[in-house]
């Protein structure tokens, strides 16, 4: 129940935040924090919970975005059914790719998913007829909800963060369930998990598809927020940035995904002028987090609280 109180409090903070910052640019950045949070929550389930790395997650993000974009801009579908079809399409791709790829472990899994991401990005660049190639896909319509056009940053902010909060609730339910335990068991010892009846290939595939579904939703939202798609925001460096979000935030914790997404998105914004060099900063962040922040930022906060409580108890004694 403590988890639900935290989630409710979080929802209140999110609802109030735009009124505190009162600045179009910041609200715009916060929409991207939300989109990245959706991606990071999904990746946290895969990496933090089940211990399976994906260095190709931006591919699912891009496939969701392009599926939504192409169906609405080129084929004039209405956005919501298009989003649903995009979701199902990305899940199907993840299922087909995950089957063989998730047999691999460690570095090999990282390499295979990285390769998948690169291939998908090449398709975005080369499939001119579908995606518009490097010059992009234009005229993706705005979203409407219950007769209201989501054409301001503020309105889109609320839609995005509603999705994030729903994703957080789903993720937390999963982590604290039979399925979540099975996933963490795979992380802890695949051998023991197998002999306790966990069908490890099936559960790995399920969490892979689920995390791809979160990425697809993030992609669809991006398509309708920016109303323009090019291959660049779905490249391998974005997959790396997503992993950095998960690691910096703290892998074992769904809140960590939000913290990591916020931290990395803000660093990205701050480094806008040095666009091509942000990958260097992320590499450095990843190394520093691995060396000094096991458990990420959320883990560090938890440790500090423990230490302070320990100190207080020491004084009281």
């Amino acid at each position: 129940m403590r988890g639900w109180r935290a989630l409710a409090l979080f929802a209140v903070v999110i609802a109030a935040l735009p009124w505190l910052v009162r600045n179009q640019y910041y609200v715009n950045v916060l929409v991207f924090v939300g989109i990245n949070s959706l991606l990071a929550v999904g990746l946290t389930l895969l990496m933090g919970c089940a211990g399976q790395i994906s260095l190709g997650h931006a591919a699912f993000y891009g496939l969701g975005a392009y599926a939504s974009g192409i169906l609405t801009a080129t084929y004039k579908w209405s956005p919501w059914p298009a989003m649903l079809v995009a979701l199902v399409f990305v899940c199907a791709v993840a299922w087909a790719v995950g089957g063989p790829v998730l047999r691999l472990r460690g570095h090999y899994l990282a390499m295979a998913t990285l390769g998948f991401g690169v291939i998908v990005n090449l398709v975005f660049v080369q499939a001119l007829g579908l995606t518009g190639g490097a010059s992009g896909l234009v005229a993706i319509p705005k979203l409407s909800l219950a007769g209201m056009r989501l054409d301001t940053n503020l309105r889109f902010y609320y839609l995005t963060w509603l999705a994030v909060i729903a994703a957080l609730a789903l993720a937390r339910n999963i982590v604290n369930s039979r399925v979540g335990r099975a996933l963490r068991a795979i992380h802890g010892s695949e051998l023991a998990a197998n002999t306790l009846g966990v069908n490890t290939p099936r559960f790995k595939l399920q969490v892979f598809v689920l995390s791809a579904a979160f990425a697809a939703l993030a992609g669809s939202l991006r398509a309708h927020f920016v109303n323009f798609l090019s291959p660049e925001p779905f490249g391998w460096h974005v997959s790396v940035a997503l992993v950095v979000m998960v690691v910096v935030g703290g892998m074992g914790n769904t809140w960590g995904a939000i913290v990591g997404a916020a931290a990395v998105t803000m660093v990205q914004e701050a480094l806008r002028a040095f666009r091509d060099y942000d990958i260097l900063v992320f590499g450095l962040l990843l190394i520093l987090a691995a060396m000094f922040l096991p458990g990420g930022l959320t883990g560090a906060v938890a440790r500090m609280r423990l230490r302070r409580r320990g100190a207080e108890e020491g004084e009281a004694a």
Partner: protein, 263 residues
């Protein structure tokens, strides 16, 4: 091979038939055959490298045998996936501990219930009706199993933080959580104190009395001789003796395998 069917013979829970396993040119199991009758405690002993753990791995589907059969209640199980064999009621512990160090003691034991429960991804994600009750049931049962091994006080401790002996007990509780028909214990007493070891012996007998068949690999001979109904002796992957503890202790081949012979 087949025994005459009689009402006095207990059913065979585990049948190991001519099981062979080799790693490249090394023969790890060389046509091992024995039965474990229902409701018995059977021990496998033998020097290091005799193939005891390999046999456990074959029985639980972790390794594929080259030839021969593993029968569970007269059904062939070799060739099946480990999780399928687990679902048929086989649980085990590991000689080299395989605890989930990223989880608490209680959560470790709760994973043991996996194949006895069924709630899937969607039901869990959406907290469909029934999920909460099943969770509560699993949690209560897991606490009971921890109490059984005397670890209820450490339920919320991280599994990695426990000393070695207690980690073994958690593995036993986790295996018991599966409420198996056949329980395989791989050196459960290693690292335990004399008192803990005695408590473990009592627990194993109690588990047997409640109807679980036990197959045990153990180096602690006093434990083996005290609780086993029968003993199988392996050496270099082959069975060299089988019988009651008293018979096996008198067997010259066994003495030779353990102590070596003057040649």
């Amino acid at each position: 091979m087949s025994r005459p069917v009689s009402t006095h013979t207990p059913a065979t829970t585990l049948g190991v038939r001519q099981v062979r396993k080799n790693f490249g040119g090394v023969v790890a199991l060389d046509g091992v055959t024995f039965d474990v009758p229902e409701g018995q405690i059977k021990a496998i002993i033998g020097p290091n490298g005799a193939g005891k753990t390999t046999l456990f791995n074959v029985i639980t589907g972790v390794l594929r045998n080259a030839s021969g059969q593993v029968l569970l209640d007269d059904r062939q199980v070799n060739g099946r996936h480990p999780w399928e064999i687990a679902a048929l009621g086989v649980a085990r512990t590991f000689q080299t501990l395989e605890l989930f160090e990223n989880m608490t003691v209680l959560e470790n034991v709760m994973v043991g219930y996996h194949s006895r429960t069924s709630k899937g991804l969607l039901a869990s994600a959406l907290r469909l009706p029934g999920v909460h009750d099943e969770e509560q049931h699993i949690r209560d049962q897991a606490h009971e199993k921890l109490a059984l091994v005397g670890m209820q006080a450490q339920a919320d401790v991280g599994a990695a933080e426990l000393p070695f002996g207690q980690q073994r007990l958690v593995e036993v509780a986790r295996a018991l959580a599966a409420e198996p028909r056949l329980l395989l214990l791989d050196e459960p007493a290693a690292g335990l104190s004399t008192a803990e070891s005695a408590a473990l012996a009592k627990l194993i007998c109690r588990v047997r009395d409640q109807g679980t068949t036990v197959l045990l690999v153990e180096h602690d001979m006093s434990l083996v001789m005290e609780i086993s109904d029968e003993v199988v002796v392996l050496d270099h992957g082959a069975k060299v003796a089988e019988g009651t503890p008293a018979e096996v202790q008198r067997n010259e081949q066994v003495i030779a395998a353990y102590l070596g012979t003057e040649e």
